[in-house]
Amino acid sequence: MNKYILGLVMLLASFAYGQDSTFNIKKNELVLEVNGMVCAMCAFGVQEGLSKLSFLDKKKFKADGVEVDLDSQMIYIPIDLSKKVDEFEAMQLVKDAGYDTIAIYTNYDSKGIKKKSVPKLAS
């Protein structure tokens, strides 16, 4: 009986994990998952900071620069692949805005969604 319960829990957990990993990352996007982004006025600082990114594709979201989703705590950053992409630079700008990056997802040249390890930033 315990095996069945354990199996059911693992099955449900796999569904939950699957939901997290199927969010939509479009071609040429860098997505940062951040902790603590609970208020729109505070998240404005992230948007302002990331709009200065050296490799941002400014055409996609126009004046906004990036897209902020408070529900999923994700920041969608369209990138210009003709420039050097430095995820560390984006993470630093998120930190300057007061938040912590906990996951990095990329989809460069439609090569598929990759989850990258988060490098440690200087405090």
Partner: protein, 203 residues
């Protein structure tokens, strides 16, 4: 103006009620106006690092024709970021001058908050040198509808303040409505004795 009304005025004036975070994002600038029938308080400032805000503050005390100018410096002492909440401890300070009496004054304070997308709790303690008073301000807030990033958020806030001067306590409870959209914040508060309006923009 009677002494109680003057003290309630000072609660708004000098306790430095922080409508939003006292330190915002690195490079972020703030313009902040608080207006009430007795007081106009204008603040301009910039967050120079992610832990340090500096700015100036001009206060016009309309009812007794006194004006103050002060320099504000706030520091973010500690922040906890979690998936569903953010929590902060700030140190607050200001040093200034009464433009009429030319007397100097200073404030020292601590501000702590915890917020989710639905609820917010804030407590602040502040010491003011001009009357050697200690003020406690607490806010409990909730939003009936969690707004997305681009939507207007409406918050309902209950604010309690306690001004301890000499051996007397002056208490005040103020209901406040807050509207937030993008980088703009507007608040209206009133309880029959006091009313105030706040406008703030980050850029």
């Amino acid at each position: 103006m009677n002494i109680k009304k003057l003290i309630l005025c000072c609660l708004i004036l000098f306790s430095g009620i922080e409508a939003a975070h006292p330190v915002i994002f690195k490079g972020g600038k703030v313009v902040w106006l608080i207006d009430s029938p007795n007081v106009t308080d204008i603040r301009l400032g910039k967050t120079f690092t992610r832990n340090w805000y500096s700015g100036i503050r001009v206060v016009d005390h309309k009812s007794n024709d006194e004006s103050f100018v002060a320099s504000n410096n706030n520091i973010l002492i500690k922040r906890w970021n979690n998936r569903h909440y953010q929590s902060n401890i700030y140190g607050l300070s200001s040093i200034g001058l009464n433009l009429n009496s030319k007397k100097s004054m200073y404030n020292l304070g601590l501000h702590a908050d915890w917020e989710t997308r639905r609820f917010m709790v804030m407590h602040m303690i502040d010491y003011a040198s001009y009357d050697q008073s200690i003020t406690h301000t607490a806010r409990l807030a909730f939003t009936p509808k969690i707004a997305s990033y681009k939507e207007t958020a409406v918050w309902i806030i209950g604010e309690y303040s306690n001004h301890q001067i000499d051996s007397n306590n002056y208490e005040n409870i103020l209901p406040v409505i807050r509207l937030l959209k993008n980088n703009y914040l507007v608040e209206f508060g009133g309880n029959g004795n006091d009313t105030f309006f706040t406008f703030m923009v980050h850029f």
